[in-house]
Symmetry: C2
């Protein structure tokens, strides 16, 4: 009982604070009286919350402005550079970095090569920490204004406790990675699944703005999905919702590395597609496959057409289960070979259950290769306001 | 902008009201001062909200009680019979009715035979309205205390607008069914998908109490699913999340009535199972199939084992996508032939992706045949407090 009440109060308090901050961001500059009028909260509550926001440095008082006959009010504004966050994207071959200011703008970006499966968690943490230290020094960032580092990691991530539970891309199991970084830099660090931060970025600043229930499907070296509902990342019971790659596409199908039969990833991830291609003709990479299809080689066109069919079926399954109003297709496959998108859309006309056909739109990523960096940085920004 | 702010305020106001009502229900009787202490809301706010609740008749003042040295406080309590709701479950052959009191208890139950596909929406509405009128008269219910009727309907339901968009069980399309009832009885009527109200019932009063993210799988004449997260029914963009029956199990599989190939329902719904059985031996119904299996007839055991495998795969797909902490198996198949449950659990040990194997428990329904009536009645109860 106690716990529920405490939780309820916190939710309300936080909700009011977020609401006021959003109002200030959107209507800057604005007076306390106007906020009171808009929110219908008591002047005391508004005063207290604004006080907190000012104390945190998120909001500042500006010059007096006339708001009525003869009266002058102190106006409130945000300082776009009040705080900074870092967004980090740990990929298979590259680690990307971004510095984001309070307003949501990326001030600086950087990338460092690495080899995921050869890097120990300790070495990766050292590389990330050093790079961040160099950026802070080069860009002369005020360290006291850096409120945190967000990191998008491929795999099953315990977001609350900052642990990489399992990442096949990195070959890590049960690594308290957030703590590794925090111990080195003494900056709050949060980690989350890469596709969950990616969809947050698209929702807040990318192609899913205005969508209320958005599903994201990642198609490339891996296969995965995520969902965001009214701005809340859908996490499931242990932050593992959306593990699309190991849903079963065909009970009698291909063996998967996981030991099960017919997992979706054995049909549509890059290695599965190339495996299929190499049965017919030596194919080094996806570029060669798509070039062969362009060249009107039948076998290549068939493989791409079959891949589109399976992706269409995947979209049907996602739409039946999540009933989103938009589906974002992301990942190397659709970003590097966008000619596949109309083929997928065509398949959807056949394989999506009829009552759902007009209930969603298919989008592609707007932020593309930046999306994980942006989402990871925003994760901290949101989190910071939440926790303060 | 305006809309967002209005929404935010409403959410907070409603949240506070629900919180206070829950506190009174759980700690009855309780004083305003104690509520103020627990909620940390201002005495003015608490007074106003309690006033609203009293005015609605949801809460009443009781005798003075000593709470400290020489002081006496007016205590607040709920009247278990302050309000009533009706829950209605429109099934294939039977319409079930229940009268629920404010405390959540079912006062009275009743069932009426009908034949779904032969009943027009108008005739069904007339039958439901007449039955409710008879119950009101016989049970001498105070009509002014009946706050609403909740109806669980199989199909795609526009819950907000009270429209049955599509129901294959009933053969209805775009029927404003809530309005039909409301016009006859002049009592607020809400309708919702049957599995969505079912999971609400199990969450509030059945086997999923204490689970935070629960998935429900219906197995019987139809196949479907629903999800509830921290008490909120997961609806998707157009209240159609969970349409499991038309997810694709096998891209090269059985033709489905919907025109697609390999839909899950063509493998595990009752007619699909019986169709398979009749290939081998004339089988009138499920009872005969399970009797043959009991009798150690191989063909029957094989069919049941294959069904369990497909249900196991379905559980894997649900768990991968939703990551729930509990999965409730419902419907005639598991309720009438519970010997299949251990077979399904055994299959899950094989076909659920390894990282998820220990993340959820498999439950069966506690409320069984009452669950839709209970959930539909609770839907109105929740809704009423929401709207007041």
């Amino acid at each position: 009982m106690k716990k529920i009440e405490k939780h309820d109060q916190d939710v309300i308090r936080l909700h009011n604070k977020q609401m006021i901050l959003e109002i200030i961001k959107k209507r800057r500059p604005i007076s306390r009286a106007e906020i009171t009028k808009i929110t219908k909260l008591s002047p005391t509550s508004v005063g207290r919350i604004v006080g907190e926001l000012c104390e945190q440095g998120l909001v500042r008082e500006t010059a007096l402005t006339s708001v009525g006959v003869g009266r002058k009010a102190i106006m409130l504004d945000i300082d776009p550079q009040a705080v900074f966050t870092f967004g980090v994207d740990i990929g298979k071959k590259v680690i990307k970095f971004g510095v984001m200011e309070f307003s949501g703008k990326l001030l600086h970006e950087e990338r460092v090569e690495h080899t995921a499966l050869k890097a120990t968690p300790e070495a990766t943490a050292a590389l990330i920490s050093e790079t961040i230290n160099v950026i802070i020094a080069n860009k002369k960032l005020d360290k006291s204004r850096i409120i945190g580092i967000g990191i998008g990691v491929p795999g099953v991530i315990d977001h609350d406790r900052g642990i990489v539970q399992y990442s096949s891309t990195l070959g890590w199991r049960n690594i308290p990675f957030a703590q590794f970084i925090q111990d080195k830099l003494h900056i709050l660090t949060v980690i989350d699944n890469d596709l969950k931060v990616k969809i947050l970025a698209e929702y807040l600043l990318g192609s899913a703005q205005g969508s209320r229930k958005t599903a994201l499907i990642e198609l490339g070296t891996g296969v995965g999905s995520s969902l965001i509902i009214d701005g809340d990342i859908f996490r499931g019971g242990s932050n593992s919702a959306g593990e699309l790659g190991h849903t079963t596409l065909d009970p009698n199908g291909n063996m998967c590395e996981c030991g099960k039969r017919g997992c979706l990833q054995t049909y549509i991830d890059e290695s599965a597609i190339l495996h299929e291609a190499n049965r017919i003709k030596e194919t080094a990479d996806m570029q060669q496959l798509f070039a062969a299809a362009q060249n009107e080689e039948n076998w290549a066109q068939d493989i791409i057409s079959r891949t589109s069919l399976y992706i269409g079926i995947t979209i049907n399954n996602i739409v039946c289960m999540y009933n989103p109003d938009a589906v974002i297709l992301c990942g190397d496959l659709v970003e590097n070979y966008s000619e596949i998108v109309p083929l997928i859309e065509e398949q959807c006309g056949q394989v999506v259950w009829e009552p759902f056909r007009d209930t969603f739109k298919i989008l592609t990523s707007e932020l593309k290769s930046k999306s994980i960096v942006v989402g990871a940085a925003m994760l901290v920004m949101n989190n910071y306001v939440d926790k303060s």
